[in-house]
Amino acid sequence: MSAQHSQGTRPTKLETKFLGETASIKTTFTGNKALNIEEPLLFEVGSYDKSGVDLPEPENVRSRLGGLERKTPIGLPGLSEPETMRHYVRLSQKNYAIDLGTYPLGSCTMKHNPRLNEKMARLPGFADIHPLQPISSVPGAIELMDYLSYWLLELTGAYGVALSPRAGAHGELCGMMAIKAAHTHAKNTHKTTILVPDSAHGTNPATAALLGYKVKAVPAREDGTVSVEAIQELATDEVAGLMLTNPNTCGLFERDIIKIADAIHNVGGYFYCDGANFNAIVGKVRPIDLGVDAMHINLHKTFSTPHGGGGPGSGPVVFSEALAPFAPLPFLIRDMDGLSLRETCGENTSEQHPFGRLAAFHGQMGMFVRALSYMLSHGADGLKQASEDAVLNANYIRAGLRDVMSQPYGDQNCMHEVLFDQCFLKDTDVSTLDFAKAMIDEGYHPMTMYFPLVVPGAMLIEPTESESLSSLDMFIATLRDLVQSAHNGEIERFKQAPELTPVKRLDETKAARSPVLRWQDGS
């Protein structure tokens, strides 16, 4: 059997010895717990003869459906408007949110989502325009894309930007395709390998492999950063590029980044930087100045567009001078006639070699508006202050917990996130997972766990700049109390957690063994 492609040593089984010992909580006739109201599935409450939308009667016309009229019902239940509202408001109350409390998920940058952004994105001049209406009828949209590009270029030092990628992983694909396209253009057929540190986010090797590259892992140094020597040794003629996250997934800035970039450039490779952690350095340093050739920017992390329970994201990619000509369609061009949008390959000039198209239309316009609204609000001074506050907050948590929690690479300054491991839980019978689940009962979303994979029982905490001092103090006090509890052997506080949530620990094995992915009549 091969080494496991795994999520680390995360336990997934319910420990039965701790089940059924829950403290007696008052039961109710409805199953509701006061404000916490149970809600069945839409399919159990809706009905086939009810609708919450009033529509005009269709005109009486001769059907032109070519004999393919639907003859059987679809089976979609409907609800009136008040019922719909209740159904989804009740569901919403079973979710945690940034607007409720600290959401310290490492590498996810769960910062405040300003509502001005939402208001701006909903202006009819942005939300109610069609991607294929004549460009002459949307000059403001083109200007907005151009102005957003300008901000991204200024903040990164780049020469070109591709706006169309729909999320971070999609941006990564875009950046790596540009690298492959550049090598193909230069007929570098021998460049078959991509270097990826073993602490990298899982999308990195997945993307390189999708493009047919061999992935070679780069080991970390004892202090958690990438070893220049290792890169220099691995940087052979076959190396097409390096994928590196900076600041890295351990929350550290790669201090030898310039030497690392040189080593890759010396063998004719390109340097792809995963921009997931850009929030630590916006306004402090420009990635392209560090030798980066391509970097995606998660507008939904660094530039505050909402995560929305898992999307939509937006992942523009900035390029160095060497890679900019290979950016995909569509792209903006400015010439004598002013600003225009190039949508097809038809009119290639000798300078531009777009590698193709990554998605229909022109990108996540709704996210562009939100991100630009955030940038304009902060301004150059505010963005820099935000990065400094993000880093300050993470280090303050480190300072507040360093005597009771263990750090895999010793107590050193971190960037915008601080990494702990499971060593401090040794001999307590409490795992990282248990520790995190106990945080839920205390009203906190857990930190990122078991990532990076190279750190056993990792706990990666990213507070972001949105947390106030009093909120950080309460968070630190809570974690200290939990550590104390674990050492005092108060095991039930962990093993049964979470107890106060709408559902308790869920059986993931059952879900994966015989997947039930939809409601079925009679189920």
Partner: protein, 449 residues
Amino acid sequence: MRYLPLTDQDRKHMLSKIGVDGIDALFSDIPEQLQLSNIDTLPNHASEMAVERHLSALANKNTAASSVPFFVGAGAYKHHVPATVDHIIQRSEFLTSYTPYQAEMSQGTLQALFEFQTQVSLLTGMEVANASMYDGSTGCAEAVLMAHRVTKRKKAILSGGLHPHYRDVTQTMSDFADYEVYAHTPDPENVESLADFIDDETSCVVVQYPNFYGHINDFSGLAEKVHASGALLIVVVTEIVSLGAVKSPGDMGADIVVGEGQSIGNSLNFGGPYVGLFATRQKFVRQMPGRVCGETVDSDGKRGFVLTLSTREQHIKREKATSNICTNSGLCCLAFTVHLSLLGELGFSKLAQVNHANAVCLAEQIEQLPNVEILTSSFFNEFTVRLPVKASEVVETLAEKNILAGVPVSRLEPASPELENLLLVASTEMNTDKDRETFITALKEVLPS
């Protein structure tokens, strides 16, 4: 700065707790010569009022769809979205939550995803659906990769009726992953015979329903031929409202159905964010890309939902993952699900009927014009018109008169001069008799008689 809670006093206190002299000490790993003092080329912070003024000025330069007679489609459609939908998706608990990895504190998102997956399965006539893709076009490329995994073959055949952007996205992805694509030439006349191109290496045939030019075809016969050769039939639906009026792709033998869900619950947004729908047969579920939500029980035996089958995903399998997709279209799926719950079977069928009736009304009036031909004998809410002159010129002239007439095919297919007179015209429930009258009158004026 209104978004930053720390005061200078706080910052000082925190630095001393950390044990450093100043903030610069925390950034000392960044090469000093490259550290920025400030970026002179960008403005400093601005008030809410100032930002609003700036962005509103840009927005006001654009012609919003609801402000004019509007007939533009080609993969994105102007429909009415009930106010309830936008209210619900702006609730903090949905808007500002992350991917539901901590199931106990994300049951709201998870249950909504489970409802979404069920609705998508029902609409497409398939057995299972995932929790969405970025959009229809990326879903199409992912469907082709999935078919290659299932069949262990490497060649895809794309219909000439497939949206050109979807074709290009699939082509780009396949080129880079070293897979073969046969893309049929554009087929506005609906004459292609895709079965002729199937060979032993063919993993899938990709068709669109209704297709890019508006034609509605029965793919049952094609499905049989595709299956006989051991390949899969992928059906792409860019106007999901059509499925309220016509037979489902599942009923015609589709193996994978990919859809663009924007029409339900989502604004036009100049092309994004949208929501990709992805449905397939139960037997292929472990080859399906994207996140999925599944039902299970908690430690008290109570029903609950979790993200499941995650071993297919990149954060576990890394270089062996089924795709590199990480983020889905969470909030856009929620908008889709809320809108479809409001509509129900009754509302959804009626919406489809109104769309079809409006399009037929418009087609009948266009047919009366001299030297104009409608190429699409059967269609749902969009059809192709052959004009006696270049379609792009007509569209520009009408835009000057504040009428958005449709999409000239040449905008997406500039390499095919024989298509330059073709115009795609869409009509939804949003169009009034007055809209049609204005459009027809203007067309009469600009077309040579």
